[in-house]
Amino acid sequence: MAELAKATVETAEIDELHSPLREFWRRLSKNKLAMVSLVFLLGLTLVALFAPYIAPYDPINGIMEESLQAPNAKHLLGTDELGRDILSRIIFGARISLRVGLLAVAIALSVGTVLGSIAGYYGGKIDLIIMRFMDIMLSFPSLLLAIAFMAVLGRGVENAVIAISIVTMPEYARIVRGSVLSVKENEYVQAARAIGNRDAAIIFKHILPNVMAPIIVRGTLGISTAILETAALGFLGLGVQPPDAEWGTMLGSGRGYLFNAPHLVYFPGIAITLTVMAFNLLGDGLRDALDPRLRQ
């Protein structure tokens, strides 16, 4: 009896060990680069959330007498042309970059998922119309399309979110459609249909949960694209407008001082590169952990 009880406990332990979430976490935590990136991004999120308490100076109102100072003890990363502390502006910039990145991907992912699942699930004419439209959008280089939307919508951070989510949406729609096509003929989907579930219920309850892995991976990698595009729009003067601190906008205005104060363009660029790299590495790690077959 005692033996049997022990055996049962062991099986339970093994079961727990092999639950999908644990298995996923076990694989992810083995990937050092992904873990470092995760820690970095969590840290960055905290910095963004508590920016007003962490930043040593006001990011908007500078001290004119201290303008264009090279990095020094008082201003660790120096000051810009209006005497604003660059470290403080980078800290506040994290708020914008993370918010735009996450928001743009969230919108693009939701709309793309709905359109992609409708196209994949219903097929036929609906599929043709939706996907042709997506193809047309994909026939523009995405940054160019984002620029076109900014020309129409006008500059500013909200419009940057809208523009970036519109131009990245077709890619998600395509991935979701492909995944839906691959699982919709499975028996559990047919069973769900046979017992009289509504289409929406079948799509959301039975199909989508089974195609989440590639969507999550693509979404994580998509955040880095969104951050890069936000920075690009800001740099071109079409995105976030001064005096707001955004990394790309800081590079755009710092460009005019390359000769006498090149430090203006060093640090915002480093901030963008590190953040984008972290999202890329985390996305690669998630891909490997969620689907070992995709490992490169």
Binding site: F140, L236, G269, V276, L281
Partner: protein, 334 residues
């Protein structure tokens, strides 16, 4: 094959129509009144109304679209509000600069990317492999405009090796044949101009190439690693062939097919990236003109350049697809 080519070319028509419709609608539905824009702030309401009538802006939208389309087909893209010159003339005068930059970038990206990828694969887990993959990671994570700025700081401002901006030294422009300065100066044996053109293009082309270079290096490395493990490579080695022959004649040739597709796809990415690179280096191409036009609300110019760039993008992608089908007989023409 011919049927396939014709079919693919015919399929371009709806896509191009779609692009024009899309750009037209987006710009017409949401932008400020072009008549008011053309006349400036001091115009009276009557003047604006008269100009609207004259420009046909009071007609139904679909009438306006078909007029726009028929103009477009006849090569009339309208006039720039800023310079008053025909939009198409401006595009054509700036297009060679963008093409030259994109070609130089794809050349650098392909040569460096493939070499790095092959060496990394052959020497997997070596120090070289390690560093080049870090480089590739940086390549996809760094904003190209920032890389451009850093290059300017280092090579132009600190070391004084390369010029900060522009396409060629003033007055050095070679005789116009193709519009590509490097090509023209070689054709006319104008070595001074060639030197100047090369010195000007090296930084913008490298900055623009960085992303594609990283993608190509990664792709080459992973396909090479796959190919190296195939049976026919073992057979080649077993025959006693030299390692270099095995690597370059047997492995690389087979690994290159997917790499070529990636290179083709990067051509389109480069057209988009050119907007940023041209802005950083004041390169007189279409990309920088487009940004100026947007900042000045010069919407015929915006409309024309976007339609033009998207068309080039679509056509380049088609050519790549066709080349790929021709290179790899396993592809079905369906």
């Amino acid at each position: 094959m011919l049927r396939y080519v014709i079919k693919r070319i015919l399929l371009l028509i709806p896509v191009l129509l779609g692009i024009s419709f899309f750009v037209f609608m987006v710009l017409h539905l949401f932008t400020t009144d072009p008549a008011a824009l053309m006349l400036g702030q001091h115009a009276t309401n009557e003047q604006v109304a008269a100009l609207r009538e004259e420009l046909g802006l009071n007609d139904p939208v679909w009438v306006q679209f078909f007029r726009f389309l028929s103009d477009l087909v006849q090569g009339d893209f309208g006039r720039s509000l800023m310079t008053r010159a025909p939009v198409l003339d401006e595009i054509f005068s700036r297009f060679p600069a963008t093409v030259e930059l994109a070609l130089a970038a794809i050349f650098i990206a392909a040569i460096v990317g493939i070499t790095v990828g092959v060496v990394s694969a052959v020497k997997q887990y070596s120090v070289f492999d390690y560093f080049s993959m870090i480089g590739a990671l940086l390549g996809v994570s760094m904003p190209i405009f920032w890389l451009g700025l850093m290059m300017i700081v280092l090579f132009s401002l600190k070391l004084h090796w390369l010029p900060v901006s522009g396409r060629i030294d003033i007055g050095m422009e070679p005789v116009h044949i193709t519009g590509l300065y490097i090509m023209d100066s070689i054709l006319t044996r104008d070595w001074e101009s060639l030197k100047s053109a090369l010195l000007h293009i090296i930084m913008p082309a490298t900055a623009l190439a960085s992303y594609s270079m990283a993608i190509i290096a990664r792709m080459t490395r992973s396909t090479m690693l796959e190919v190296i493990r195939q049976d026919y490579i073992r057979t080649a080695r077993a025959k006693g062939l030299k390692e270099t022959v095995v690597t370059y004649r047997h492995a690389l040739r087979n690994a290159l097919i997917p790499v070529i597709t990636v290179i083709g796809l990067q051509m389109g990415v480069l057209m988009g990236g050119a907007v940023l690179t041209e802005t950083v280096f004041s390169w007189p191409g279409i990309g920088s003109r487009l940004v100026d036009a947007i900042l000045a609300s010069d919407y015929p110019m915006v409309q024309g350049s976007i339609i033009f760039i998207a068309t080039v993008f679509v056509v380049v992608n088609l050519v790549v697809d066709l080349l790929y089908a021709w290179l790899d007989p396993r592809i079905k023409y369906s």
